[in-house]
Symmetry: C2
Subunit: 295 residues, 2 copies
């Protein structure tokens, strides 16, 4: 793996928990709960994309993009906590560990999600007030994040997902819209925020979003493939759960072979969107790594 | 009632629903759900305070403060939707109408809350991008709102509230901390945002917060008094519910007479904080109205 990717990954792990340090004892359990889920992180794909796109715009001082990276990861984490709640997917495990509400109870898990969502906007704004980047940059980042993570973006996708539960008639377009909102939006905005932090042109920001959309969809189709082919041990969560719910998936709609082709095509399109970036070596390597993952 | 208060109230009702107009049919139910709870509004105390403080700073073009007012009301509404969920207070009614999850189900109610919370930051940022106020103003407002509505503010207060459930030993300080966070924070920041939108000095912003803190606490103590003395018809919600939960309240801790005194004292202190504002007539009248309410 590229040294830059290793370096950025360590930086992310180092910075991600600073927010949870100080708090009144009276509500410490809320911060424990938020930290629990942030610590039980995955591959940190989204914050890494933010830093890699910042770098791809020709900037090396990635700490300037860190608040944006943190914000995206907090939003991702809140969405997982709320997704796991009994009224949503009712998942007892997340990445092989008990989900937030199984450890802290539903009420605290709900509030931990709310807290992480709110903290995303606190992170971006406070570092602008501290002079790390100008107010215009912060407002642009906050606006993009609020739209892509909001009711017309990620949350809209979650609503469509609920509508698709037990609907074996959901078609490809429906599934694609759902995923492009539920998963693609946050990946796209993670890429865009790196460019915004770098003060990049609208062209670069748009290309970063295209990359995110294509990769996000490739990601989701790959997930469906892995959901069928992988085992509990490898993924750390129950497999085949979508099938049990009688849900349409890309695999049930298109078959594994066509899905594999589509993943390749989307990955190629994502790669092409990187050509406009002046320093795209690390981000290309990372995109290839993501496309090739088998677990 | 002062003409200004009437005028601002109408403006708020007119603007508050614009956000929910356009959306894809696939997730329309989410917008319906968000709108349902925003429409089932109360006295619009928080957005009114934002506009009245904007005006108290010597500004008349209150539409410039409207995005801040909307943001505060969306945050308030999301907190009520999440508060009513079965894993929290499990309230079937809110202001005499079925609570959000009784109409739309728990999953959509949860996501409607998330959507409203996110939209608060979208509202403030988008109107800065549109040129209504500068980026510095937006970032300052977003930061204050994220802190006061966040894990160290309103949500922290909700956590303390959960800890106090079935704890008859919660004392006055504990109750005061809980309320100053859970209720006071959002009222304080509603006041502060009006000053921030007006470009007021830090002195005025701080005074607005002091007003909000004092009034918020007076409000909460008054609520406890009304909870005991009022009836179902008047309040539109179950009364005596705190008592059923075996919760400490200001009334159980201090008695009604001492509570009435405290409300008067806090209201006086809140009023004193208004003296520094150049145009404080309308806000003083409104504060008096709030302090005198009997339902």
């Amino acid at each position: 793996m590229n040294d830059k990717i290793k370096e950025y990954s360590s930086l992310i792990e180092e910075k991600l928990y600073k927010y949870f340090e100080a708090s009144l004892p009276e509500y410490k359990i809320l911060f424990d709960s938020m930290e629990y889920s942030v610590k039980n992180g995955g591959k940190r794909v989204r914050p890494l994309l933010t830093l890699l796109f910042y770098n791809a715009c020709g900037k090396d001082d990635v700490l300037k993009a860190m608040p944006m990276a943190e914000a995206v990861e907090y939003i991702h984490t809140y969405s997982l906590i709320h997704d796991d709640l009994p009224c949503m997917d009712n998942d007892d495990f997340r990445r092989g560990k008990p989900s937030n509400h199984k450890v802290y109870g539903e009420a605290i898990a709900l509030l931990a999600g709310d807290g992480l969502l709110t903290s995303a906007f606190e992170r971006i704004s406070v570092w602008s007030l501290a002079g790390l980047y100008d107010a215009e940059t912060a407002v642009k980042a906050i606006h993009e994040l609020s739209v892509y993570a909001g009711a017309r973006g990620m949350i809209g996708g979650q609503i469509i997902d609920i509508g698709n539960e037990n609907n074996p008639n959901a078609d490809f377009d429906n599934l694609k819209l759902m995923d492009s909102l539920k998963t693609g939006c946050l990946i796209s905005v993670a890429c865009a925020l790196g460019c915004i932090a770098a003060g990049a042109s609208q062209d670069l920001i748009d290309s970063a979003k295209t990359f995110g959309e294509k990769l996000g969809l490739a990601f989701q189709i790959k997930d469906d493939i892995l959901d069928v082919t992988s085992t509990l041990e490898k993924l750390g969560k129950m497999t085949g759960s979508d099938k049990e719910n009688n849900k349409s998936t890309y695999v049930t709609l298109l078959g594994i072979e066509k899905c594999e082709e589509l993943v390749k095509q989307l990955t190629d399109e994502a790669m092409n969107a990187l050509d406009v970036f002046p320093y795209n070596e690390a981000i290309k390597e990372y995109a290839n790594y993501l496309a090739d993952r088998e677990y």
